[in-house]
């Protein structure tokens, strides 16, 4: 039966892969009937949702084409000759867009007049105050920052609570709701990015369903905040630093093997530099991306330069191609040039073993009460030995904590049989901590933690793969 099943699965996979199989297995005939159904012609993806998805995951999709830019900016035609000359030197400055960096807010398109917050706005509920401190409306986005004050310390334990699940929205006068397209921050301060405002809209309302970064259920804070925001034209003396976009010239690309690590933007402020960049490399054969990478900056003397990774007002830059990984750094002036940026990536690979380990785990009737179980159980899976040290009950997930003297193991997959995670929280199965020799796997999230006697399955060891470095040099 096992051999038959394996053959069936192999044949089914071939069938799904578009390779017809000669097998006349009735199950495969049913599979063919399903595969030949024409359902795609009925699929009608909403264009508006598609556009919103594009903006949300990559705001650059709104960028104008070069010809559109030429039509709206005749002066650019004059500058093209200059651009061609610059291209011969290997690096060209992109002139099509006038980007500016506003400290605390970020990078904005200045091709249309900027609008800024008329005055800070506050709202207080149960002694907690939210203040919209800053905001800007530009041609490419709307950015709002707010601060939360006077949160009682005892309520600042989001790890013991279900985190606030809903993001703030921007409500326009006609009732249109803008969903968040980017941003970052913490429980005390948030920077929110939305789509650009329509022309002639000066008044919007920031709707905050619950406070991001805070608990939502067991330690709730006041909810449903509404803060009116008024925009006015930006003052002429507002500080806006210029942003230089760097793109390799066609000449350089044609003649030189392209460095997969590139710098895409440079910002010089009064006392620091901000660089953004990308790494574009294919996955090594048979390996997966662990998602773990490192950045290091050294100066002309080889000394480490201290930097801030992903400055809060820059965050995750928009990649210029779908497979690029992006980075941003901020460091003080005063270093010995040139600097060298080293980007390190760690890959992992899946062990092909189909072995599994099953064991029973009694979480009791009230897992939250126990919170942690010391197990110290040793297992061997696919000839690799490791120890399950403990299991912790978090508010909506279980965390399985492992160690091993075998430093080649990166992680394992863990499933609680019969309890598929609830996807609303985002994570699904294995959350891996990339510290060699020890790792944790979180199983969840769940609306309600599974309790009682649970059957746990461990499978698929993930092994440490290659570690690779790339470097790029830069000087002011």
């Amino acid at each position: 039966m096992i051999a038959d099943l394996k053959k069936f699965i192999r044949n089914l996979d071939q069938l799904l892969d578009g390779r017809d199989t000669r097998a006349n297995d009735p199950a495969l005939q049913a599979a063919k009937a399903l595969l030949t159904l024409d359902l795609d012609s009925e699929s009608k993806p909403p264009a508006e949702l598609r556009a919103r998805w594009g903006r949300r995951v990559n705001p650059s999709t709104k960028r104008k084409t070069f010809m559109q830019t030429l039509r709206t900016r005749p002066v650019l035609v004059v500058l093209i000759a200059l651009l061609i000359l610059l291209a011969l030197s290997g690096v060209a400055y992109a002139i099509g867009k006038s980007l500016g960096y506003i400290p605390g807010l970020g990078i904005v398109d200045q091709s249309a007049p900027l609008q800024v917050l008329a005055e800070p706005v506050s709202q207080t509920q149960d002694g907690i105050t939210i203040t919209v401190k800053d905001a800007i409306a530009s041609a490419d986005k709307t950015i709002v920052t707010y601060a939360v004050e006077n949160i009682p310390p005892e309520k600042l334990s989001p790890a013991k609570d279900v985190p606030c699940p809903d993001w703030p929205q921007l409500k326009l006068p006609d009732g249109t709701l803008y969903e968040l397209s980017g941003g970052d921050g913490n429980v005390h301060e948030m920077r929110l990015i939305y789509a650009p405002l329509p022309a002639n809209v000066q008044d919007v309302t920031l709707l905050i369903p619950c406070i991001q970064g805070a608990g939502h259920v067991t330690l709730p804070l006041p909810e449903n905040w509404e803060l009116p925001i008024r925009f006015i034209p930006a003052p002429a003396d507002m500080t806006v630093f210029s942003v230089t976009e760097l793109t390799p010239s066609p000449a350089a690309e044609a003649n030189v093997v392209k460095n997969p690590l590139t710098i895409t933007k440079v910002i010089e402020t009064n006392d620091s530099y901000i660089l953004t960049g990308e790494l574009l490399v294919p996955l090594p054969l048979g390996q997966s991306d662990s998602g773990v990478y490192g950045l290091r900056i050294t100066d002309g003397n080889g000394k480490d330069v201290s930097f801030e990774g992903f400055p809060q007002d820059i965050g995750m830059p928009t990649p210029t191609s779908p497979n690029a990984e992006v980075w941003s750094v901020k460091f003080d002036k005063g270093f010995v040039p040139p600097i060298q940026i080293t980007y390190t990536k760690q890959y992992i690979l899946a062990d092909s073993s189909l072995e599994t380990i099953e064991f029973d785990f009694d979480a009791g009737d009230d897992p939250q009460k126990v919170q942690a179980w010391q197990l110290d159980r040793e297992f061997t899976l696919a000839d690799r030995t490791f120890t399950l040290n403990s299991v912790s009950a978090l508010p909506n997930s279980y965390e399985f904590n492992f160690t091993s003297t075998d430093n080649s193991i990166y992680s394992v997959d863990v499933v609680i049989d019969g309890y598929p995670p609830d996807a609303n929280g985002g994570g699904m199965d294995a959350g891996m901590v990339g510290v060699f020799g020890s790792w944790s796997v979180s199983v969840g999230p769940y609306k309600e933690l599974p309790k009682g006697k649970l059957k746990v399955t461990i499978s698929h060891p993930w092994l440490i793969g290659e570690i690779k470095d790339w470097t790029v040099d830069w000087q002011p």
Partner: protein, 174 residues
């Protein structure tokens, strides 16, 4: 200074185009008509958008994440709306017997309706497998079944589906 962070894959950008049709097919296989399947597929991407910052590529592939959302939405939809076809193992609530509906339907609807005569677990595993070719491992993660069990369920479900289709053809020819 060494900063270790996790990278956000840019493949998110293409996820809408790649997976909307697959999510749509999932709802069709689960028994929704075309309009409802489009509405539900849109809901999946709306929900994914509102939680996109919580998506962690180390924890799940975007495809698996979207289907986990789709699975939840399908459960809630049929629980709250008593959708066009039952999700649970109950027989249909239509006055016309399901077998009769199947015979009347055109070829496409016939296959889809035959699918609805299977039990809930079989329908779900088939829908996940045939809408997007999810691996058995990913389906195991989504459903809580073991990976080897998925193969068995798929095999038995497809055998049952073939029998149903054969029966329908016999009845249809009469």
């Amino acid at each position: 200074m060494n900063l270790f962070q996790r990278a956000k894959p840019a493949s998110l950008e293409s996820a809408f185009d790649r997976y909307y049709p697959a999510v749509f097919r999932f709802f069709r296989f689960r028994g929704a008509d075309a309009d409802t399947a489009n509405d539900l597929a849109a809901s999946v991407f709306e929900r994914a958008l509102s939680h996109i910052d919580q998506f962690d590529p180390r924890k799940a592939q975007i495809q698996t994440w979207l289907f986990a959302i789709a699975r939840n939405i399908s459960i809630n939809h049929w629980k709250s709306e008593k959708g066009t076809l039952p999700l649970d193992d109950d027989l249909p609530q239509s006055d016309v017997p399901l077998e009769e509906l199947v015979i009347r339907a055109e070829e496409k609807e016939r296959v889809l309706l035959a699918l609805q005569t299977l039990d809930n677990r079989s329908r779900e595993v088939i829908a996940l497998k045939f809408s997007s070719e999810l691996s058995n491992r990913a389906i195991a993660q989504l459903t809580g079944l073991s990976e080897s069990n998925i193969g068995v369920v798929l095999y038995r479900s497809l055998m049952k589906l073939r029998r149903q289709l054969s029966q329908i053809e016999v009845n249809h020819d009469r």
